[in-house]
Symmetry: C3
Subunit: 152 residues, 3 copies
């Protein structure tokens, strides 16, 4: 069991099954030493954790827990793709937060994902990041996060 | 003629000329084995295929055809850059859909691009992807798509 | 002093200190020959140059100067990370412009960053790019820009 898997166990996080792709895109592509993970939504047990706009129907705290769930799903994809023991570094996250123009706390929301990466991967989990607010996201999700990992 | 060019011919798609850049950015940059393609708008014969917001003035189907046109323009850039026979893999697409907050069907729209990549490049056309809804796009375009390819 | 540093001096630009990260993400990550720079806001001397939406409270010209400031901050990060003499190429910028749906001049805004890259790095400063309009950005900033550089 890799260090990251031990940390997940200590955190009480069981990685979900990665759903089979239903369209002409896939959850991940490996190019050289880089693993590109498709934008993940906050699905848990087949349902979105919350739905709606952050700062309107969804609170900043709920959106932050969505960001954490997106990160869990990203880690599940990486685990299925190459195994967590082959992760060298979380390179980058881009976090999209669905919100009205009045909401400007995107960094705090996306910290839900950034914090989990650090908890699971330690120093190797610290990443470059962008956080932006968008008008809407697929299926009315409040958060979507994509990632690039460096792998062995 | 490469396999991808044959597929384009079978699909009746003639690749457009890539417009000369008019600013200090360029349609593509090659870095190692990765080709980064600038965000493409649904231009056809010098005009946007549709203008406006998806789910308002532009229907989801019209936006999907815009996504397909963006993909044609991306393929044209790649052809001009390195030649389609040097494509190893479509690594990633990011699809931005201009829409009001009430529209949450971004994945269906961006499938217009994903499907074309699979039609033209086969297995090598299946890519990682993010699809998000944004408030507005350059020149009032309903869709903008950027891409990363792995090339020989 | 590298050529890029000479150009900055001629342009009268002093690179700011890069703020220490206060969260579990970092201003940059190097992966192979690629340097990923986190999304930068138009901070100058610890304050945002302008606040609000482009085309509403913030003019297109003011937003363009924000984009230039984002580019200065990106260059400061790169300088601190690897030194400007190790820059081989600006690979890509993604520019997010906070604006209402009625504003469609994102390319002109992001030219503020693209032009500076060309002024500082010459031919090596010409990059792939996407420019999109979003509903809101962290701390009510009108512009956020992220970057990928190729470095030695």
């Amino acid at each position: 069991m890799s260090e990251a898997e031990k940390r997940l166990e200590e955190l009480g996080i069981a990685l979900p099954e990665v759903p089979k792709p239903v369209a002409n895109y896939v959850p991940w592509v490996k190019s050289g030493n880089q693993l590109y993970v498709s934008g993940q939504l906050p699905f848990k047990d087949g349902k979105l954790l919350h739905m709606g706009l952050t700062g309107e129907g969804v609170s900043a705290d709920e959106a932050k827990s969505c960001a954490r769930q997106c990160a869990i799903n990203i880690i599940a994809v990486v685990h299925g793709a190459v195994g967590l023991s082959n992760v060298r570094r979380v390179v980058k996250l881009v976090g999209f937060v669905a919100c009205p123009a009045s909401f400007t706390g995107q960094p705090g929301v996306i910290n839900g994902a950034s914090d989990l990466m650090a908890e699971v991967f330690g120093e190797a989990g610290r990443h470059a990041r962008s956080a932006v607010g968008v008008g809407s996201l697929p299926l009315n999700a409040p958060v979507e996060i994509e990632a690039i990992f460096e792998v062995a």
